[in-house]
Each structure stands twice: as structure tokens, then as C-alpha cells.
Symmetry: C2
């Protein structure tokens, strides 16, 4: 089954304590669809400017991404420049040039409207809601959001939360949105706003899936060569949604594995700039990380104490 | 097999946003030995003042804690007052009255000197080292430390790190000690200082065991009624070391289960003030949390994508 993503495509300029790159292909829809394409066909809705390179289009198309929903507008592609601080986690935005993204109005091609798996990347909650009015009978809709919308567009955000199945969000943002410091209580508060499934991303601490009343925790793969965290969240989302779309149904078991595959994909993303590391992974590469994550959480039964010695 | 702990016994005054308690039994050796006593006999070395209540002594003795190493000095017991902020994680110290703890000089009773499992709670690295000169042939020594010693007594701390097997430490402290922001690289740097085994405590994010080159991650049990985090680290250590001492040998499998039991015990500790919740747990109580932690990390094999469909 294919997965629909509505989000941004961008060129990023990125500074880290160790390197600087310019004109790196970025944007939520880019990372998402590259990751998801390992598992399922992707339908992409985004906007780019006239400066967007043909080679990027060709790359995505070769990976099975349908680009009928990609529009090219007069002007320049969305550009973002960010600088990562020494801890490679906190970052500051040097500039954001929305360019053609400023007037982005996602219109789904007719053939996308029956999409069953939908990801609303981090765009305004109004646009996310607008997408929801165009899909006919989705089976599973997940959305992303960020502090900017939580503080600035809370009412719209809550309306969109009311019509989706799942929210992917950072741990600090789930606390901000719920106004609650306890992570587990915060998750329940947000579930009460709509989404019954939460995927809480915690960087080096892993990810927590809250599905109804059940919890699943996936650790972070121990990445030692962290070069650029940009896009890790969207890559996670791509692995997660791509895996679910491939599975074709949303069960607890599929959701758990989807979180593990999302984590595995995200661990590759951060090892290089842009989609550098995501372009040509093998099943063996991905499978090895999935098995590492399994090995990292394995513990055998206690046969002494609990059994009464 | 019994486990030796050298640490503090104290009375704490604690303020949280929701409650205030005074004269709560506290101290690293108290939390440690209460937790460890579920699994193995405990030998305790600490000092208290003349105001220390007989009922506390009786409680510990009834739990199988040998108190021949507990000395009572003229003066008052160590007192600490802390206030937890709204997030129940950050805290400020209102006062610390070391009292008799100021001149604590741990001397091991002869019968403790053959201890095979030793925990050096969070006392000065000089005193920790002094204990190490008194044990004859320990099988597994673990130590705790804190930012205060990392910034103020680094040389002594490194000497002690050089003679122990394991370090239990917070994630922020492992980064401070190694001067490295990447958690996984930080862990390796600290291993190079001596301890081949690290147990990195991450609060609501769980705990990471780094043993040689292997990683094991245990999530935090989802505690919703967090009432007082005081003593959680020492309780974790008590469950961890008590379990290992019961197992009698240090294998990867035992270490992993020890981390899970430590996590389970710590999850009870924070639900009440002092050792309130730790006084009378059943095997069924503890076993249920261990099984919750297993369920929280379980994911089944992918049989579609990796298998090639």
C-alpha cells in the first residue's frame, strides 16, 4: 500500500562544530519519502521553486516516489540555515526563507485522495486540516508538529489533533502541549485531545510508543558518528509510516516494529548530511540495526528469585 | 552471597509542589540496603548520631541488614533539606548539616573484609578509596559519584575509578566526567578511566548498561504517581547489587536482569516519601513491574520486508 506525505522540500545550509555544508537537499517531505521508499510506494505533495534541481527529482522518482503532487512555482525553493551547538542537539536558526513555501496550498491529485496511510509533516495545522478534508477514507493518519504551532496556533492545532490517529512529537513538545511535566501523564493528556497513538521521540534516549493504554520503548541505536541531526524526525516518520503502509494494517505488533524500523532509519540519517546516508541502504544494513536494537533490549527470565529459589 | 554498602544514613526534610515531610529516614545506605535486602543479606557501614531512632535500626535488622558496621557518634545524624521544583526532577538544597557524617571514617569490621560484592555509595572518592584498601578480594565493586566530586575532587575520583568494576552515574554526570556530549562516546571515555561496566541512569528515560562493548537499555517503568524522587538512584543501586550478589556471579545475563530489578525497585521508591513504598513489597509486586518492563520492550520479528516478501 502506498503512503501519502504532505510537507516541505528545501535546500538547507548547515553548520556544525565540525563542518559546514550549503545547498543540502532537505525538507520534511524529502527525508520522509526517502526513508519510506524502502518499504512502500510514496505519494508526495510539496512545492518547490524554479531553482530545484532536476537530479533531486530523478532521484526520488527512481526510489518509487510519485511526484504528481509536486508543484513547481515561480521563485525560489524554501531555504533554511541552521547552526548546531557543541552538543549537536540544540540548534539556532540563522535564517528561514520560505520563498515559494509561503503560499503553499496543498491540493491532492485525484488519485491520492483514496490514500489509506497519510503523514502530515510539520506544516501549519490549518494546512494539515485542509489536507484532511481532501482524503476520503484514510485508515491511519499521523501528524507531526512543533513548539512554534503549540505556542502560536494552539486552537488550530487542537482541531487537527481531533481528526488524526497518531502524533509524532518530541518529549519536550508533548510536555509543552499538555502543560504536564510527567511524560506518561502528558501522553495521556494528549491522547485525550484526539490521537490514540503517540510516538514520542527522545533523541539519544530513544522513542516511546503510547498506543491506547500500552507502552513500547525503543532505545536509540548508539550512533557515535553523529554528523547532522537535521531530518532525523522526518526520517523516523518515513520509516515508521512506510513500514505500516507495507504491512497494510495497524496492529500493536506492526506499530512496534514500525517504531523500530523508524529508529533504525533515523540512526542512518544523522550519520551524514542531508539524505547522504539514506540514499542506498541495503536490507542487510537496516536489518543489522533492527537486530542491534533487539539485542539492546533483550533480557532473559529470572529463574531464581521470582521462582522462589 | 551478601553485599557490602558504605554510605550515609540521614534524616531528610523534603518539600515538593504537593507535600512536605520532615525527619524522613534517608541516606544512600538506607535506600540501598532496604532495596538490596529483597535479594541478599546486606552488610552496612555508616555513621549516625545519638538522635537516630531505634525503630529504624530494628527495621533494617529485621530485613536482614547486618549493622555491626554502623557506628553511633556523639552528636546528630546527617540532615538534608531539599525542595523539588514543579517538574519533580530539578531540586535545590535548602541546607546540608553533615553533623556526625563530617568525620565519617569507614572502618570495616573484620568479618566484612572478605565481601565479594561491594557498593561504594556517594561519599568522597577518598573515603571510597579508603574502603577499597580494606576489602581483600572483592569480585565486583560498584561505585556512585556526583557532579560535586567531578568538579571538586577529580584527581581522587580518577584514582578510585581506576580500582572499581562498575560506575553507576547519571547521564548528565557521565558527560561532565568525560567532557563529551555524545552519550555513547562519553561512556567509552569513562570505561577507559577504569570501570568496564557503566550503569547510566536517565530518570524517566530509563537506564543504559554499558558492559565492555555491549549495550543494554531498560526503559523506566511509567510511574504516574511520582511523589518523591529522593533515593531513587540508591534504590536502583540496591536492587542492582542485591540481585547480582544473590546470583553470585557477574555475567552479561545477570547484569541485564540486575538493571531491570534495579529499575523496578526504583519505580516503587519514587511513589512515596522516604522508604515508605519499599518497606513491604511482595515478590509479586516486583515481578509484575519486571514483566511490565519486558512487555514494554518486546517486538516480534519482521517476517515480510527483511525476509524479502
Amino acid at each position: 500500500m502506498s503512503v501519502l506525505v504532505v510537507g516541505s522540500m528545501a535546500y538547507d545550509d548547515i553548520e556544525t562544530p565540525h563542518a559546514q555544508v550549503n545547498d543540502a537537499l532537505g525538507g520534511s517531505a524529502t527525508f520522509f519519502s526517502t526513508a519510506a521508499s524502502y518499504f512502500s510506494p510514496v505519494n508526495l505533495v510539496a512545492v518547490v521553486g524554479e531553482d530545484f534541481k532536476h537530479e533531486e527529482i530523478a532521484f526520488l522518482r527512481a526510489r518509487g516516489v510519485d511526484l504528481d503532487g509536486l508543484t513547481t512555482e515561480k521563485g525560489k525553493t524554501f531555504r533554511w540555515k541552521g547552526r548546531y551547538l557543541a552538543n549537536m542537539n540544540d540548534r539556532e536558526t540563522i535564517y528561514t526563507h520560505l520563498n515559494v513555501f509561503q503560499t503553499f496550498n496543498p491540493v491532492l491529485p485525484e488519485k491520492y485522495r483514496d490514500s489509506e496511510f497519510v503523514f502530515l509533516a510539520n506544516i501549519s495545522p490549518e494546512l494539515q486540516y485542509h489536507v484532511m478534508t481532501q482524503v476520503r477514507k484514510p485508515k491511519f493518519v499521523a501528524m507531526d508538529t512543533m513548539n512554534f504551532w503549540i505556542t502560536g496556533s494552539l486552537e488550530s492545532l487542537r482541531r487537527t489533533l481531533g481528526v488524526v490517529d497518531a502524533l509524532l512529537i518530541n518529549d519536550s513538545e508533548v510536555k509543552m502541549l499538555s502543560e504536564e511535566d510527567n511524560l506518561f501523564i502528558a501522553a495521556r493528556r494528549v491522547q485525550e485531545m484526539g490521537p490514540k497513538t503517540l510516538i514520542i521521540k527522545k533523541g539519544e534516549h530513544g522513542a516511546l510508543l503510547v498506543h491506547g493504554s500500552s507502552y513500547f520503548h525503543c532505545p536509540a541505536y548508539p550512533v557515535e558518528s553523529l554528523n547532522d541531526p537535521t531530518g532525523a524526525g522526518d526520517t523516523f516518520a518515513g520509516g515508521f509510516m512506510g513500514y505500516l503502509a507495507m504491512a497494510g494494517e495497524v496492529t500493536e505488533d506492526h506499530l512496534r516494529r514500525a517504531v523500530v524500523f523508524g529508529s533504525a532509519l533515523a540512526s542512518f540519517c544523522v550519520e551524514d548530511f542531508s539524505i547522504g546516508r539514506l540514499q542506498s541502504l541495503s536490507k542487510a544494513d537496516i536489518g543489522a540495526r533492527v537486530e542491534s536494537l533487539r539485542e539492546m533490549t533483550r533480557f532473559s527470565e529470572d529463574t531464581r528469585w521470582l521462582a522462589g529459589r
